[in-house]
Symmetry: C2
Protein backbone atom coordinates (compact mmCIF):
# COMPACT_ATOMS: atom_id res chain seq x y z
CA UNK A 1 0.00 0.00 0.00
CA UNK A 2 1.21 3.51 -0.81
CA UNK A 3 2.72 5.31 2.16
CA UNK A 4 3.08 8.93 3.22
CA UNK A 5 6.73 9.51 4.12
CA UNK A 6 6.85 13.11 5.37
CA UNK A 7 5.36 16.58 5.34
CA UNK A 8 6.79 18.17 2.21
CA UNK A 9 5.53 21.67 2.91
CA UNK A 10 2.95 23.90 4.50
CA UNK A 11 1.77 26.57 2.05
CA UNK A 12 0.88 29.95 3.48
CA UNK A 13 -1.10 32.39 1.35
CA UNK A 14 0.33 35.92 1.58
CA UNK A 15 -0.97 39.12 -0.01
CA UNK A 16 2.49 40.74 -0.07
CA UNK A 17 5.97 39.18 -0.13
CA UNK A 18 7.86 41.96 1.68
CA UNK A 19 5.35 42.09 4.55
CA UNK A 20 5.50 38.31 4.84
CA UNK A 21 9.31 38.30 4.86
CA UNK A 22 9.37 40.89 7.63
CA UNK A 23 7.78 38.23 9.87
CA UNK A 24 9.02 34.85 8.63
CA UNK A 25 12.60 35.91 7.78
CA UNK A 26 13.34 39.05 9.77
CA UNK A 27 11.47 38.32 13.02
CA UNK A 28 11.43 34.49 13.23
CA UNK A 29 14.91 34.28 11.69
CA UNK A 30 14.09 31.59 9.13
CA UNK A 31 16.48 31.34 6.16
CA UNK A 32 15.05 31.76 2.68
CA UNK A 33 16.26 29.16 0.18
CA UNK A 34 15.00 31.03 -2.89
CA UNK A 35 12.10 33.04 -4.29
CA UNK A 36 10.65 31.86 -7.58
CA UNK A 37 7.95 32.88 -10.01
CA UNK A 38 5.88 29.75 -10.69
CA UNK A 39 3.80 30.49 -13.80
CA UNK A 40 1.97 27.11 -13.57
CA UNK A 41 0.58 28.23 -10.19
CA UNK A 42 0.25 31.92 -11.16
CA UNK A 43 2.20 32.74 -8.03
CA UNK A 44 5.48 33.93 -6.61
CA UNK A 45 6.70 31.40 -4.02
CA UNK A 46 9.22 31.88 -1.21
CA UNK A 47 10.82 28.53 -0.29
CA UNK A 48 11.87 28.29 3.36
CA UNK A 49 13.43 25.02 4.55
CA UNK A 50 12.50 24.18 8.16
CA UNK A 51 14.02 20.93 9.45
CA UNK A 52 13.02 18.15 7.08
CA UNK A 53 10.10 20.12 5.57
CA UNK A 54 9.43 23.54 4.09
CA UNK A 55 7.25 26.53 4.66
CA UNK A 56 6.19 28.02 1.33
CA UNK A 57 4.86 31.58 1.18
CA UNK A 58 2.58 31.83 -1.85
CA UNK A 59 1.71 35.23 -3.33
CA UNK A 60 -0.73 35.03 -6.25
CA UNK A 61 0.14 36.88 -9.45
CA UNK A 62 -3.44 36.56 -10.78
CA UNK A 63 -6.74 37.22 -9.03
CA UNK A 64 -8.21 34.05 -10.58
CA UNK A 65 -6.43 31.42 -8.49
CA UNK A 66 -7.62 29.53 -5.43
CA UNK A 67 -4.93 31.20 -3.34
CA UNK A 68 -6.08 34.66 -4.53
CA UNK A 69 -9.67 33.85 -3.55
CA UNK A 70 -8.49 32.54 -0.18
CA UNK A 71 -6.67 35.84 0.47
CA UNK A 72 -9.71 37.85 -0.68
CA UNK A 73 -11.87 35.92 1.82
CA UNK A 74 -9.53 35.55 4.78
CA UNK A 75 -6.66 37.99 4.29
CA UNK A 76 -4.09 35.15 4.27
CA UNK A 77 -3.03 32.18 6.37
CA UNK A 78 -2.33 28.46 6.07
CA UNK A 79 -3.61 27.37 2.68
CA UNK A 80 -2.64 23.73 2.22
CA UNK A 81 -0.65 20.86 3.66
CA UNK A 82 1.51 18.78 1.31
CA UNK A 83 2.60 15.22 2.04
CA UNK A 84 5.20 13.22 0.16
CA UNK A 85 4.00 9.79 -0.87
CA UNK A 86 5.96 6.88 -2.34
CA UNK A 87 3.35 5.95 -4.97
CA UNK A 88 0.88 8.67 -5.84
CA UNK A 89 -1.20 6.67 -8.36
CA UNK A 90 -1.72 3.89 -5.82
CA UNK A 91 -2.59 6.43 -3.10
CA UNK A 92 -5.16 8.16 -5.36
CA UNK A 93 -6.70 4.79 -6.27
CA UNK A 94 -6.99 3.88 -2.57
CA UNK A 95 -8.55 7.24 -1.71
CA UNK A 96 -11.05 6.97 -4.56
CA UNK A 97 -11.98 3.44 -3.51
CA UNK A 98 -12.66 4.75 0.01
CA UNK A 99 -14.98 7.45 -1.34
CA UNK A 100 -12.61 10.40 -0.80
CA UNK A 101 -13.31 13.30 -3.18
CA UNK A 102 -10.26 14.21 -5.25
CA UNK A 103 -9.59 17.50 -7.02
CA UNK A 104 -7.15 15.66 -9.33
CA UNK A 105 -8.16 12.08 -10.04
CA UNK A 106 -4.89 11.57 -11.90
CA UNK A 107 -1.66 13.22 -10.84
CA UNK A 108 -0.46 16.34 -12.64
CA UNK A 109 2.98 15.65 -14.07
CA UNK A 110 5.56 18.39 -13.57
CA UNK A 111 9.32 18.22 -14.14
CA UNK A 112 10.68 16.00 -11.39
CA UNK A 113 7.40 15.36 -9.60
CA UNK A 114 3.78 14.33 -9.73
CA UNK A 115 1.14 16.07 -7.64
CA UNK A 116 -2.57 15.93 -6.83
CA UNK A 117 -4.96 17.68 -4.46
CA UNK A 118 -7.60 16.07 -2.24
CA UNK A 119 -10.82 18.04 -1.80
CA UNK A 120 -11.25 19.67 1.64
CA UNK A 121 -14.85 18.38 1.73
CA UNK A 122 -13.38 14.92 2.37
CA UNK A 123 -10.64 15.92 4.83
CA UNK A 124 -12.52 17.98 7.42
CA UNK A 125 -11.64 21.32 5.84
CA UNK A 126 -7.92 20.84 5.07
CA UNK A 127 -6.73 21.22 1.49
CA UNK A 128 -4.27 18.30 1.24
CA UNK A 129 -1.71 18.01 -1.55
CA UNK A 130 0.22 14.86 -2.41
CA UNK A 131 3.68 14.92 -4.03
CA UNK A 132 5.78 12.16 -5.46
CA UNK A 133 9.25 13.03 -6.66
CA UNK A 134 10.13 11.26 -9.88
CA UNK A 135 13.77 12.28 -10.31
CA UNK B 1 20.26 34.24 18.27
CA UNK B 2 17.53 31.69 18.96
CA UNK B 3 16.89 29.35 16.07
CA UNK B 4 13.89 27.39 14.78
CA UNK B 5 15.00 23.80 14.26
CA UNK B 6 11.94 22.05 12.78
CA UNK B 7 8.19 21.91 12.41
CA UNK B 8 7.02 20.15 15.56
CA UNK B 9 3.41 19.75 14.47
CA UNK B 10 0.48 21.00 12.47
CA UNK B 11 -2.68 21.09 14.57
CA UNK B 12 -5.93 20.32 12.82
CA UNK B 13 -9.20 21.22 14.55
CA UNK B 14 -11.74 18.40 14.24
CA UNK B 15 -15.34 18.30 15.45
CA UNK B 16 -15.36 14.51 15.78
CA UNK B 17 -12.49 12.06 16.33
CA UNK B 18 -14.01 9.03 14.55
CA UNK B 19 -14.87 11.02 11.41
CA UNK B 20 -11.36 12.50 11.40
CA UNK B 21 -9.76 9.05 11.80
CA UNK B 22 -11.76 7.72 8.88
CA UNK B 23 -9.79 10.12 6.67
CA UNK B 24 -6.36 10.53 8.28
CA UNK B 25 -5.91 6.93 9.43
CA UNK B 26 -8.20 4.77 7.32
CA UNK B 27 -7.97 6.55 3.94
CA UNK B 28 -4.50 8.20 4.01
CA UNK B 29 -3.03 5.27 5.93
CA UNK B 30 -1.23 7.35 8.57
CA UNK B 31 -0.33 5.51 11.79
CA UNK B 32 -1.68 6.86 15.07
CA UNK B 33 0.90 7.06 17.85
CA UNK B 34 -1.65 7.61 20.61
CA UNK B 35 -4.85 9.45 21.54
CA UNK B 36 -4.77 11.49 24.73
CA UNK B 37 -7.08 13.65 26.78
CA UNK B 38 -5.22 16.90 27.43
CA UNK B 39 -7.09 18.68 30.25
CA UNK B 40 -4.80 21.76 30.06
CA UNK B 41 -6.01 22.31 26.48
CA UNK B 42 -9.58 21.08 27.14
CA UNK B 43 -9.15 18.76 24.20
CA UNK B 44 -8.68 15.20 23.07
CA UNK B 45 -5.62 15.00 20.80
CA UNK B 46 -4.68 12.33 18.26
CA UNK B 47 -0.89 12.26 17.76
CA UNK B 48 0.17 11.16 14.27
CA UNK B 49 3.90 11.07 13.49
CA UNK B 50 4.68 12.02 9.86
CA UNK B 51 8.37 11.96 8.99
CA UNK B 52 10.21 14.21 11.44
CA UNK B 53 7.03 16.10 12.46
CA UNK B 54 3.51 15.35 13.62
CA UNK B 55 -0.05 15.99 12.60
CA UNK B 56 -2.20 16.53 15.69
CA UNK B 57 -5.98 16.21 15.44
CA UNK B 58 -7.50 18.36 18.17
CA UNK B 59 -11.08 17.80 19.30
CA UNK B 60 -12.25 20.29 21.93
CA UNK B 61 -13.90 18.92 25.09
CA UNK B 62 -15.27 22.37 26.02
CA UNK B 63 -17.06 24.95 23.89
CA UNK B 64 -15.00 27.74 25.49
CA UNK B 65 -11.65 27.12 23.79
CA UNK B 66 -10.12 28.79 20.75
CA UNK B 67 -10.26 25.51 18.87
CA UNK B 68 -13.99 25.13 19.67
CA UNK B 69 -14.67 28.66 18.37
CA UNK B 70 -12.60 27.91 15.25
CA UNK B 71 -14.75 24.82 14.58
CA UNK B 72 -17.97 26.76 15.24
CA UNK B 73 -16.88 29.37 12.65
CA UNK B 74 -15.23 27.22 9.99
CA UNK B 75 -16.26 23.63 10.62
CA UNK B 76 -12.63 22.54 11.14
CA UNK B 77 -9.28 22.70 9.37
CA UNK B 78 -5.66 23.69 10.00
CA UNK B 79 -5.59 25.55 13.30
CA UNK B 80 -1.95 26.27 14.12
CA UNK B 81 1.63 25.61 13.10
CA UNK B 82 4.15 24.72 15.82
CA UNK B 83 7.90 25.21 15.46
CA UNK B 84 10.58 23.85 17.76
CA UNK B 85 13.05 26.48 18.89
CA UNK B 86 16.35 26.07 20.76
CA UNK B 87 15.79 29.00 23.15
CA UNK B 88 12.20 30.13 23.56
CA UNK B 89 12.86 33.03 25.98
CA UNK B 90 15.42 34.51 23.58
CA UNK B 91 13.07 34.03 20.62
CA UNK B 92 10.18 35.73 22.45
CA UNK B 93 12.46 38.65 23.40
CA UNK B 94 13.57 39.05 19.77
CA UNK B 95 9.97 38.93 18.52
CA UNK B 96 8.85 41.50 21.09
CA UNK B 97 11.74 43.78 20.19
CA UNK B 98 10.66 43.58 16.54
CA UNK B 99 7.12 44.60 17.44
CA UNK B 100 5.52 41.18 16.96
CA UNK B 101 2.36 40.72 19.02
CA UNK B 102 2.60 37.73 21.35
CA UNK B 103 -0.27 35.83 22.94
CA UNK B 104 2.15 34.59 25.63
CA UNK B 105 4.88 37.10 26.48
CA UNK B 106 6.49 34.49 28.72
CA UNK B 107 6.49 30.79 27.92
CA UNK B 108 3.99 28.51 29.60
CA UNK B 109 5.89 25.79 31.44
CA UNK B 110 4.57 22.27 31.04
CA UNK B 111 6.23 19.00 32.02
CA UNK B 112 9.11 18.54 29.61
CA UNK B 113 8.51 21.63 27.51
CA UNK B 114 7.89 25.35 27.32
CA UNK B 115 5.45 26.84 24.84
CA UNK B 116 4.10 30.17 23.63
CA UNK B 117 1.78 31.41 20.91
CA UNK B 118 2.36 34.33 18.52
CA UNK B 119 -0.72 36.35 17.60
CA UNK B 120 -2.00 35.81 14.03
CA UNK B 121 -2.33 39.59 13.64
CA UNK B 122 1.47 39.71 13.40
CA UNK B 123 1.99 36.65 11.19
CA UNK B 124 -0.37 37.28 8.29
CA UNK B 125 -3.16 35.15 9.70
CA UNK B 126 -1.26 32.06 10.91
CA UNK B 127 -1.50 31.07 14.57
CA UNK B 128 2.14 30.13 15.28
CA UNK B 129 3.16 28.15 18.35
CA UNK B 130 6.72 27.82 19.65
CA UNK B 131 7.95 24.79 21.62
CA UNK B 132 11.16 24.18 23.46
CA UNK B 133 11.71 20.77 24.96
CA UNK B 134 13.31 20.94 28.37
CA UNK B 135 13.88 17.26 29.09
Amino acid sequence: MAKITKINHIAIAVPDIETALSFWRDALGLQIDHIEDVPSQQATVVFIPVGDSEVELVKPTSSETGVARFIAERGGGMHHLCFEVDNIEEMLATLKEKGIRLINESPLELPGRKMAFIHPKSTGGVLVELYQYTS
